[in-house]
């Protein structure tokens, strides 16, 4: 699902519970990714440098926002990186990611002593450990 806020695009992928925030340039690239266009065509459509688009597509793919993102080759061309030093921050695609928390993780980083612990619970608070048993307890 997508939501626009003040020029940024917010996305939520229910399969992974990942939420993303794309700034304007990243959102433009994402909108042009239709499975048909090449990086060059997207760059032309977004009026952006193809290398910047290539990297943004890679990041969008890593963020799970593209269904069949091409694998980007390893390594970075420093010559091209230097060429982009003059590009303003506002023109660079930025993708922020967070994983939506479970209900318990939204409120607490640790499970207090005496409480039941396990793989679905946050780790025991400092000073206690998850004692094994039919159901573990932080002691």
């Amino acid at each position: 699902m997508a939501q626009e806020v003040d020029g940024e695009t917010l996305l939520y992928v229910e399969a992974t519970h990942q939420a993303s925030c794309l700034n304007g340039p990243a959102a433009r690239i994402w909108a042009l990714c239709d499975g048909e266009r090449t990086v060059e065509a997207i760059a032309a459509g977004a009026e952006m440098d193809p290398d910047v688009v290539q990297q943004a597509v890679k990041q969008l793919g890593e963020a799970g926002l593209l269904e069949n993102a091409a694998e980007a080759p390893a390594g970075v061309d420093l010559r091209r990186r230097r060429m982009l030093v003059g590009v303003g921050l506002a023109a660079i695609p930025i993708i922020l990611l967070v994983t939506a928390p479970t209900a318990r993780a939204a409120t607490s980083q640790c499970t207090p002593p005496g409480s039941i612990c396990g793989p679905q619970e946050p780790p025991c608070c400092t000073g206690s450990t998850c004692q094994p048993g039919p159901t573990g307890t932080c002691l």
Partner: protein, 292 residues
């Protein structure tokens, strides 16, 4: 009527708590969610039992054991924490964000954070400076994105990090808010010994992600949650993040922030968020993927 049980509902969510001594019942009543009403109404329901056992108190919810071998205070903490979370997860009228909230100049200052991040300490300091109390636990956002009070007694951790002590707000000479407020400012901060307050401004999208990270029903109702958060920050909301030292040292800055939420012109803000990942160029050109 069972004299050792209390039944009721809060925010449309029902619950009952069975105990085995009258003394426990009085303690349980003090830990129920604010605005709870006695009665059997409210769906879904969760049934708790707080009972004495050989090794201390045991807290169950339905067939699930939440804690055992607990002290009285520990059992109350476990019960309260689970009941609050259950209500926050299932209440349909609001999106519950784990956060401290005060009102300043008719707008809400929201400080999201997990337990132990120092929300109550900061809220208490803000109340002493004249802010209006809304919550030290949850920001309740309605469908329009306005912030409602969840005004339970302040939960202050005892020295040494032990159990929490309840302090009624009026005992701190604080005032409690009654009406919903528009979201004025969101502050992502955490206490850090010797930490220096150096606020970095966040974009509205970042503010939404910051709130989402502490939203209880984020996974259960993502569509509604994202829409509500976006609506809440869509107005004049200002967001900053920074580590902080002692609460007293940042109160003035936070009050300025909340009061200046419309323009933010007076704020000494620094740089751009460090956690952004600007795309670096890479060689090679391949076909793009298609968006989800």
């Amino acid at each position: 009527m069972n004299k050792l049980r209390v039944s009721g509902s809060a925010f449309g969510v029902g619950f009952s708590v069975q105990v085995d001594t009258p003394g426990l019942l009085a303690e349980v009543r003090r830990r129920l969610p604010p605005t709870w009403r006695p009665g059997a109404g409210g769906q879904p329901r969760r049934r708790y039992a707080v009972m004495h056992a050989a090794d201390g108190l045991r807290v169950d919810a339905g067939d699930e054991t939440l804690g055992r071998g607990l002290s009285h205070a520990g059992a109350m903490d476990v019960l309260e924490s689970d009941l609050q979370l259950f209500v926050a997860q299932h209440a349909r009228a609001f999106v519950f964000v784990h956060a401290g909230v005060v009102g300043v100049g008719g707008r809400a200052l929201v400080i999201p954070g997990t337990s132990g991040a120092g929300k109550t300490t900061l809220v208490s300091a803000l109340l002493r400076a004249g802010a209006i109390y809304y919550s030290d636990e949850y920001a309740l956002l309605d469908a329009r994105g306005r912030v409602h009070p969840y005004a339970r007694a302040l939960s202050v951790r005892a020295a040494g990090g032990g159990s929490k002590v309840r302090v009624p707000v009026d005992r701190t000479r604080g005032r409690t808010g009654r009406t919903p407020l528009p979201l004025g400012a969101v502050v992502l901060t955490e206490y850090c010994k010797g930490g220096r307050w150096k606020p970095v401004r966040m974009t509205r999208g970042e503010v939404v992600l910051g709130l989402l990270s502490h939203t209880v029903p984020a996974r259960e109702r993502p569509r509604e949650v994202m829409a509500t958060l976006a609506r809440a920050v869509g107005g004049a909301t200002l967001g900053v993040r920074s580590v902080r030292g002692a609460a007293g040292g940042v109160v003035r800055a936070l009050l300025t922030l909340a009061g200046g939420g419309r323009s933010g012109a007076r704020l000494p803000l620094h740089g751009h968020p460090a956690r952004v990942r600007p795309a670096a160029p890479a060689p090679g050109r391949r076909g793009s993927g298609s968006r989800r």
